[in-house]
Amino acid sequence: MDDEIILLAHGSGSRLSHELIEKNFLPPLANPLLAKLDDSAVFDLSGRLAFTTDSYVVSPIFFPGGDIGKLAVCGTINDIAMSGATPLYLSLSFIIEEGLTLGELKKIVSSIKAAAEEAGVKIVTGDTKVVNRGGADKLFINTSGIGIVPQGIDISGANAKVGDKIILSGTIGDHGIAVMSQREGLKFSVPVQSDCAPLNKLVSQMAEDSSQIHSLRDPTRGGLATTLNEFAKQSKVGIRIEEGKIPIHDGVRAACELLGFDPLYVANEGKLVAIVTADDAQMVLAKMKRNQYGAEAAIIGEVTDEYKGKVIMKTRLGASRIVDMLSGELLPRIC
C-alpha cells in the first residue's frame, strides 16, 4: 500500500483526489475546522494579527533530523513567532510530483502532525496539486500562517538600540550541514542533525517577564551573518560579536572545514537571535536556557554606535574583521 505512487489522477479532483485527502490528510491532521472541507476555514479572531507565507522546496525531502513537512510547519510558525505573535492557524498546500510514494507522503504528513501538535497550532485549510514528472522536485509545500500579537508587544528588526545585547538561542549551521550531507552523500565522523524546530513556546517564555525584547529573527537561509546584517541595516546601528562566544557543534565545524564554508552563513531552522536591552539580557537568557530549544543559548555580542549598518566580529585570536552579507550561493571549495 505504502509503495503505491501518486498519479496525476490524484490531483484531478476525481474520486482518487478525495480518497487521498480523506485517507491521508484528514485523519492525522483532524480538527473541526479542517474536517468541514469547505472552501475556506471560517473562525473568529480579534486583535493585532500576524500573517505570513512561505514555500518549501528543500531537496532531499528527507534529511537527518526532519523532512519537508516538519520544515514547512516549523518555518512558518517561526516566522510568526519572530514578530512576537502566538501562531494559531496554518494552511498547507502540496504540489506533488507524480511518482512520490504514498509511504513518503504519509511520513511527511505524520511529521507535520507532530510539529503542529508540539507548537499547538492547527492546520485549518489546504490544497493538493499533482504535477507531471519533472514539474516539481518530488514535493513542494506552501504554508501560510496566522497568529495574534499580544498587547504591548513591539518587535521589529528596526528596533535595535545602542547598548542592547545580542542573544543567540544555540548552535549554528546544523540544518544547512544536515541537508548538505544528505544531498552530497557526505559522511562526517560526527553526524549532524537538522535543528528544525518550532520556536513559538520559547519566544512566549522569553516575552513572559520582559517587555524589552527589541528584535527577534530566525537566521534561516543566509545564516547568522545575514540576520545580523539585516538588523544592523534596518536599525542603523553597528553590531559587534565575538567569534569565541558563538556555539557551534563539532560536526558542523568539521564539515565546514572540509567544504570550505563559514558556519556564519550556513542555514538554521530552529534558532533565533534576540536583541534585548542590557538590563533584561541576563534574565531573558536564563529563561531561554530552561527551554529545550534554548539550552545552549549565549550572549554573543552587542549593539554599538560604531560602524553603523555593519557587523564586526572579534576573532578568537583577538583581531577584528567584517562579517558581510552572503553574496551569491554557498559553494564548496575547489582546492
Binding site: 552530497e184 569565541g244 563539532d250 565545524r253 568539521a254 572545514e257 570550505g260 563559514d262 560602524y307 555593519k310 564586526i312 576573532t315 578568537r316 585570536l317 583577538g318 583581531a319 577584528s320 574583521r321 567584517i322 558581510d324 553574496s327 551569491g328 550561493e329 559553494l331 564548496p332 571549495r333 575547489i334 582546492c335
Partner: protein, 361 residues
C-alpha cells in the same frame, strides 16, 4: 574538538603572535601562495596580529583566478555547441571571460551544470549517453588526481561521451616563474597545504637553494598559519632558508605516491597560460596521447574572438603579488562579488573577494 580545536586554541595563538614579535628583527616579506590561505588570513584577521616587520603578500594560488581569459572564452564557446553539457565547479560560473560568462550563456541557451566532484560529472555522462559531457578541469595538483581518476574510470566503463577541458596547473613552476620575474624580493613563502599533501615538500627545495627564499608548508587553520609564519621568521632571522613542514598532519616530504602515479599515468607536463603572467613553460598538465580521446580541445573545434581583458582590472598584478585589491580603482566602486569585473572578485578563494568580505573599511 580533536584536530580542529588544537589549531584554534586562543592561548597558543597569542603565544605564537608574541613569539613572532620577539623573533622578527629585520623586515620579512612573505607570500602566501594559496588562495585558501589568503581567505584564512583575512577571515581571522591574521595580518592585524603580525608585527610591522612582517609583510604578507597574496600569491596566485586560486585556480579560478589564474585561469586565463582565453581559456574561459574556450569553455564558453564549448558550452554553446549543440548537444554539449558543460559540468563545472560553481566558482567558474560568474567569472567574466572576454565577452560573456558561463552564467550568462547558461541563462541564454547552454546546458551548464554545477558539480561538486568529477564523479557527478561522470554520472551526468552516464545519464545522457546521446550528449557530450565536458568537465572544465581547473585546479592545481590537489584536483588533478581526481580528474585523472575520472578519466580512468570513464575508460574502464567505456563511457564514450565524457571529456575534460584540461586547464590544470602546477605550483612549483609558477613559484619559480614569480621568483624569476624578480618583482617582489620575497624572503619567505607560505607553501600550499593541500597541494603539498599530493606533491610533498621536496619539490620546493630549489627555492631556498637557488633563490635563498625560506619555505614552510602550512595548513589552513589560523594557528597553522601563525606557526608557519613563526617558522619562516625564524629561518629568515637565522639566515638559513630551507623547506620545512608545519602541516605535518597532512603532508609527508615524499607526498602521496599513489596520487602522483595516477596523475602521471594520465597527464604529462605542458605549458600553461596564467592570468597576469602569460604562458609559462612546463607549468601545466595535459592529457597523454593514450587518453587523447577524452581531451575536449582535440574532440571539438571552436572559433574564438580575440581575447580582451576587462578595462581597469588589475587581477594580473594582484596574482603576481605586486598590488593589493585596495590599489585597484574599481575595487568596491565598480567591482563587487555580485558584479565582478575580474575573477579575483568572484572566486571564493580570490584575493579581491577575501579583502572585500573581511576587511574593515
Amino acid at each position: 574538538m580533536k584536530f580542529i580545536d588544537e589549531y584554534r586554541d586562543v592561548e597558543l595563538g597569542k603565544k605564537l603572535v608574541a613569539r613572532i614579535e620577539q623573533l622578527s628583527k629585520r623586515p620579512a616579506r612573505l607570500m602566501e601562495f594559496c588562495g585558501g590561505h589568503t581567505v584564512a588570513i583575512m577571515r581571522n584577521g591574521i595580518r592585524q596580529l603580525l608585527p610591522p616587520t612582517v609583510e604578507m603578500l597574496s600569491g596566485p594560488g586560486c585556480p579560478v583566478c589564474v585561469t586565463a581569459n582565453a581559456d574561459i572564452d574556450k569553455a564558453i564557446a564549448l558550452a554553446r555547441l549543440p548537444d554539449v553539457i558543460i559540468t563545472t565547479f560553481g566558482d567558474m560560473m560568474k567569472v567574466p571571460g572576454s565577452y560573456s560568462s558561463l552564467q550568462k550563456v547558461r541563462a541564454e541557451e547552454a546546458d551548464i551544470r554545477i558539480v561538486y566532484s568529477t564523479q557527478d560529472a561522470l554520472q551526468i555522462a552516464r545519464d545522457n549517453p546521446t550528449r557530450s559531457v565536458i568537465f572544465i578541469g581547473i585546479g592545481f595538483e590537489t584536483t588533478s588526481p581526481t580528474i585523472a581518476a575520472s578519466i580512468f574510470q570513464a575508460e574502464n566503463e567505456g563511457i564514450r561521451n565524457f571529456y575534460v577541458l584540461c586547464l590544470l596547473k602546477l605550483c612549483p613552476p609558477i613559484m619559480k616563474a614569480i621568483l624569476d620575474l624578480g618583482e617582489l624580493k620575497l624572503d619567505g613563502i607560505v607553501c600550499p597545504g593541500h597541494v603539498s599533501a599530493i606533491i610533498g615538500s621536496r619539490h620546493y627545495e630549489f627555492i631556498p637553494r637557488d633563490y635563498g627564499v625560506a619555505c614552510v608548508v602550512s595548513g589552513f587553520e589560523p594557528l597553522d598559519i601563525l606557526q608557519s609564519v613563526a617558522m619562516l621568521v625564524e629561518q629568515i632571522e637565522s639566515g638559513k632558508p630551507r623547506v620545512e613542514i608545519a602541516y605535518r598532519r597532512g603532508v609527508k616530504p615524499e607526498g602521496n605516491i599513489t596520487a602522483l602515479k595516477l596523475m602521471d599515468s594520465v597527464f604529462e607536463v605542458s605549458g600553461a597560460d596564467w592570468r597576469g603572467i602569460g604562458v609559462v613553460p612546463a607549468s601545466g598538465l595535459k592529457l597523454r596521447k593514450e587518453y587523447g580521446r577524452f581531451d575536449a580541445e582535440l574532440a571539438f573545434s571552436v572559433t574564438l574572438e580575440p581575447v580582451r581583458e576587462a578595462k581597469g582590472c588589475i587581477c594580473g598584478d594582484i596574482l603576481r603579488g605586486v598590488k593589493t585589491p585596495n590599489e585597484c580603482k574599481l575595487f568596491r566602486k565598480a567591482c563587487f562579488p555580485e558584479q565582478p569585473v575580474g575573477p579575483c572578485m568572484v572566486s571564493s578563494e580570490g584575493a579581491c573577494a577575501a579583502y572585500y568580505q573581511y576587511e574593515i573599511v
